[in-house]
């Protein structure tokens, strides 16, 4: 069954919020640089720099 648009939006919102959680970790955890300028490692998470810095990165 195709999910309703409303469910889809709620899901995207929640997942967006979840993806933002590692960003909070940045406040008290060390960011490890990776071999790539556009990626960072935060507490074992391999993230895009934009995941933690938003579009400013």
């Amino acid at each position: 069954m195709k999910p309703s648009d409303k469910t889809g939006i709620r899901r995207r919102t929640l997942l967006g919020a979840l993806l933002a959680l590692p960003a909070l970790a940045v406040l008290f955890r060390v960011i490890r640089p990776t071999a790539h300028q556009d990626l960072v490692e935060v507490d074992g998470w391999i993230l895009k720099r934009t995941d933690v810095e938003g579009d400013r990165a």
Binding site: L18, L39, W45
Partner: protein, 486 residues
């Protein structure tokens, strides 16, 4: 023909050209190949047609170093050998697995994949496989590859009737080679133990040891000791360079595009690095297995939550009565470096019921294992993020170099090395034809000849190498016959 003991066999008058010690996947495959060429062989099986406690007891031993499976559990001693508990996952070593890695000593086979490729169609027939599709590049450095989860062939069950009806194969059950007797250039006989008692000797123009990736070393070490070096005259590497495939759950992943990973019907997707990627980080070969979570709807969202806020998710998870995790788990299997100190040795204190020293397995993972595990996860995580296919979290114990977990599989029950293939007698035991260096008529079958292990399950390559050895032996036997007639 099938005989229940050595006395029954002796009375038959059967005259083998080849004596094959061990009736597992390699031994049975070699016997079949020889039979197809009309060459008679005797196949010695230490166990019976079914598992027995007494037979299995011969395989007890100890491991010194890292925790490992009990040595009488990780292998089986009855007709069909380890195929009786094999899971059926298939894949052939890749071409680059045969070449040396400049950053890892003692790597590189004396043969290339092209040397076993002519035997792959027959291998696929034996194992009931279809052709492998080409690996598909998923990210810059990773390829999605197919592991064929076949219906595992139990070699004893599959070939028993054909062997019973064969004029060219004499399967001798309940009968082991207690030791081989050699003079430094040839094997002259094998001393038999049948139904638990000494049962004389058997002679043949050629001998093949195919008793498994641990037992091959044990039999040759013991025989060599008894023959004062007459069985393996160049024994520097005998028992050494033993390898496994360590495997652990090493992280979690949040997938943004599961379909792009094309999981199989069990929700698994397998990835291997390119040779360039391995060289870039100076790691050994490995494969990443992504296990996508079988949840949907609310359960899936909670499972996703567990990735990011495990404590928050825990109570919801408990409420639903399910152990929910991230949207995917990441499992890593990797190749070990061949190290001299990882070895099969003979116990100086413990012997089996027939007086043969038990195995003392010295096995320890090292810094390269740690490095491969961590950098493999980093590379995979980087590629998934850059392609926006997901985000990977490396488990704390991997990241922080903590002890390996004791509640995971540890390794693949893949016993490789010990009689490895090579050209240098200091670092190898058999040559590119699987012939023991310096011995005219002694060959080795099975994964103990692997020079390096690659990342994949070994059975498919074992069967391909066994077919190649059977083919080689058939030609050699015919050559000897022709010389004799001339």
């Amino acid at each position: 023909m099938i005989f229940q003991d050595a006395a029954q066999f002796a009375a038959s008058g059967f005259t083998p050209q080849v004596c094959i010690v061990g009736a597992g996947p390699a031994g049975i495959t070699i016997a079949n190949k020889l039979a197809a060429a009309g060459i008679p062989s005797v196949l010695l099986e230490g166990g019976a047609e079914e598992w027995t406690e007494d037979s299995q007891d011969v395989y007890r031993g100890v491991t010194i170093g890292d925790p490992y499976f009990d040595l009488d559990i990780t292998r089986l001693r009855f007709l069909g050998g380890c195929s009786n508990h094999w899971a059926g996952w298939c894949r052939v070593l890749d071409a680059h697995d045969f070449t040396a890695k400049s950053y890892v000593p003692d790597t590189g086979w004396p043969i290339r994949r092209g040397d076993i490729e002519p035997f792959l169609p027959e291998t696929f027939d034996v194992l009931g496989l279809h052709d492998f599709p080409p690996d598909r590049q998923t990210t810059d450095r990773f390829y999605r590859f197919e592991v064929q989860k076949s219906e595992a062939v139990r070699f004893g069950e599959k070939y028993r009737e054909a062997i019973a009806a064969s004029e060219h194969i004499a399967l001798l059950l309940n009968t082991a080679a207690g030791e081989l007797v050699g003079d430094g250039t040839r094997i002259t006989a094998a001393k038999l133990i049948s139904n638990g008692a000494a049962a004389g000797e058997i002679a043949a123009p050629f001998f093949v040891v195919a008793t498994g990736g641990l037992e091959n070393s044990r039999l040759l070490l013991w025989s060599n000791e008894r023959s004062n070096g007459g069985v393996v005259p160049h024994a520097d590497a005998l028992g050494r360079y033993w390898m496994e495939h360590p495997m652990y759950w090493t992280g979690n992943a949040f997938l943004t595009d599961t379909a792009a990973l094309t999981p199989d019907h069990e929700g698994h997707a397998f990835f291997i690095p390119s040779p360039q990627a391995m060289a870039e980080r100076e790691v050994l070969n490995f494969h990443v297995q992504v296990e996508t979570m079988p949840f949907s709807g609310a359960k899936r969202m909670i499972a996703d939550l567990a990735c990011h806020a495990p404590q928050t998710a825990e109570w919801v998870s408990n409420l639903l009565g399910a152990k929910l995790q991230c949207s995917a788990r990441v499992h890593l299997d990797w190749e070990q470096a061949p190290r001299r100190h990882n070895r099969v040795a003979l116990s100086t204190t413990e012997r089996d019921a027939y007086g043969v020293p038990r195995i003392e397995l010295h096995w320890k993972k090292d810094e390269l294992d740690r490095h491969t595990m961590l950098e493999a996860m980093r590379m995979f995580g980087e590629d998934l993020a850059r392609k926006d296919l997901g985000r990977v979290q490396i488990s704390d114990w991997v990241l922080n170099g903590e002890d390996y977990p004791d509640d995971m599989e540890l390794a693949g029950n893949h016993h490789m090395g010990g009689t490895r293939m090579g050209t240098d007698v200091k670092t190898s035991v058999v040559d590119s034809d699987c012939r023991v260096h310096g011995m005219a008529n002694l060959f080795v079958g099975g994964s103990s000849v692997f020079t390096t292990s690659g990342q994949c399950t070994p059975t498919t390559t074992i069967v391909a190498l066994a077919l190649r050895l059977g083919d080689h032996l058939a030609r050699e036997v015919v050559g000897v016959r022709t010389e004799a007639k001339a």
